[in-house]
Structure formats: structure tokens, C-alpha cells
Symmetry: C2
Subunit: 139 residues, 2 copies
């Protein structure tokens, strides 16, 4: 938390509860959604009081865009995927966060979105550690 | 279609069937989803063969980001909204397109995403014309 811009930033407790920490990039905290059905990253810009994309200044938005690209590349390295889904919704957790999800035509929710598609299947501890390691090696 | 970069671009017929034309911006064709339940724009970069965000060159992505901001501002002028939802999915229609949707806590799908939330309610012709006019005046 060395960047003074991060002052007042705190991760929404629901995001904390549902995810595992992957890394802090220049702007965003990178989280792995704890749902083994989908390789699923969440980017949370480490700035206080954000809800909408355009609450970010243009240079911060450009940085976030670069980080979305980076997350896409990272997910592709976790295995084959047929489509990447990107979403910034915030109807439940208002804090600005961007989902980047690797989808396969044989995943249980295809072609529906992942949000609200059944119940999450938590990773086992060893499986989660393997995934986190894989992701960090793919950075 | 004066920009040679647009060569080979054609709107997916499912997008044509489900939307009304609003405008052509620098990169994107702007469409109104024909679903009166939600003020809902779709941006389709007018380039052939795109599926993923990172199929666009960085300068095109930056342009798209600007156009997403513009769509957000445009939707806010159509009425009060509690949250804007942004999504690039493409599981059904593979052609790259970005949804920008104005959500209200009293819309029928809240807080779920709009995709797959019941059946669309088509605008009446006069209502659609009013909406399109409103959007174009808000550009």
C-alpha cells in the first residue's frame, strides 16, 4: 500500500469472502474467484469510492484496460478456452470490479453468463494453491 | 463505410434482428437493444473478424474505451439509473460487441444481469422512435 492513491481503499468483504489473492498490479488487485467451475479473475482498482468505470480518470481507465488484457492472456495460459467474458456489473457488490472469465463450450453454464449460474464450487485447498501458482507463473 | 478499415465488416444477423441503429461513431456501430425493459446500448467495432477485446489493436481498444464512456453518459441522459452494467460476452453471438446497460433497482431483473433474464419486451414503434431520438440528442 505504498501508493498514496490507495488511501482509503478497502476490498468489499463479499469480494474477500469469495476470492483468493493473486497479485497487486499497477492499478488493480487481482483476485481468483473461488469457483472451480470457471477460471475467473476479478480486477479491483485500488482506489477508494469507485463504482462506475468512468469514476476512474482517463489514464486510470487506460491502465485498467491494459490490466484486462493481461488478465485475458493469463487466463488463456491456464488451459484452452472458447471465449473470454468480461463484465463490470456491480449490482450486488457496488465497489468497481471487473470480471474476466475463461469460458468453455463444455462448462456447465455455457452459453449463459457465469453470474447467477448455479452455486459456486469451491476449490479444494491443494487445487486452489495449484491454480494460484499457475496464474502467478503466467504473469 | 468510407473507412477502408471497415472492409469486410458485417453486423451479425442476430444483432441486426434484436436492435435498432443509433449511430456510427469513430470505431463502433451503436445499437439500441430492442428491449424496453432496460435502456441498453450495444457497441460493435466496425472491423471484420473480431471476437475478443484483444483482437483489437491497442489504439482501437482505447477508442472503444472512449466510446464506452460516451455510451454511459448517453444512457444517463435517458433517465435515472442506479448502476451501469458493461459486458463483453460473445458466447452466443461471437462477433465482438460490448453491452452498456442502464440498470434500476426497480427493473424486473435487478440485481441479476440482463442476459437471459426473461424475454425481451419489444418497444412499440413510437416508443422506439422516441428513445432513438432521445439518444441521438444526447450524443
Amino acid at each position: 500500500m505504498s501508493d498514496p492513491g490507495e488511501q482509503g481503499f478497502a476490498l468489499d468483504p463479499r469480494l474477500t469472502a469469495d476470492t483468493a489473492f493473486v497479485a497487486d498490479w499497477e492499478l488493480s488487485r487481482v483476485l481468483l474467484m473461488d469457483d472451480a467451475r470457471f477460471p475467473w479473475l476479478i480486477l479491483v482498482p485500488r482506489r477508494a469510492g469507485l463504482a462506475e468505470l468512468d469514476d476512474l480518470a482517463p489514464d486510470q481507465q487506460a491502465c485498467l484496460l491494459g490490466e484486462i488484457n493481461r488478465a485475458m492472456a493469463m487466463l488463456r495460459k491456464t488451459g484452452s478456452c472458447d471465449k473470454l467474458n468480461i463484465g463490470a456489473l456491480g449490482n450486488v457488490v457496488r465497489q468497481l470490479h471487473v470480471h474476466v472469465v475463461a469460458r468453455r463450450a463444455d462448462d456447465g453454464a455455457w452459453p449463459r453468463p457465469v453470474w447467477g449460474a448455479g452455486n459456486p464450487v469451491r476449490y479444494g485447498q491443494a487445487e486452489r494453491e495449484r491454480m494460484l501458482e499457475h496464474l502467478r507463473r503466467s504473469e
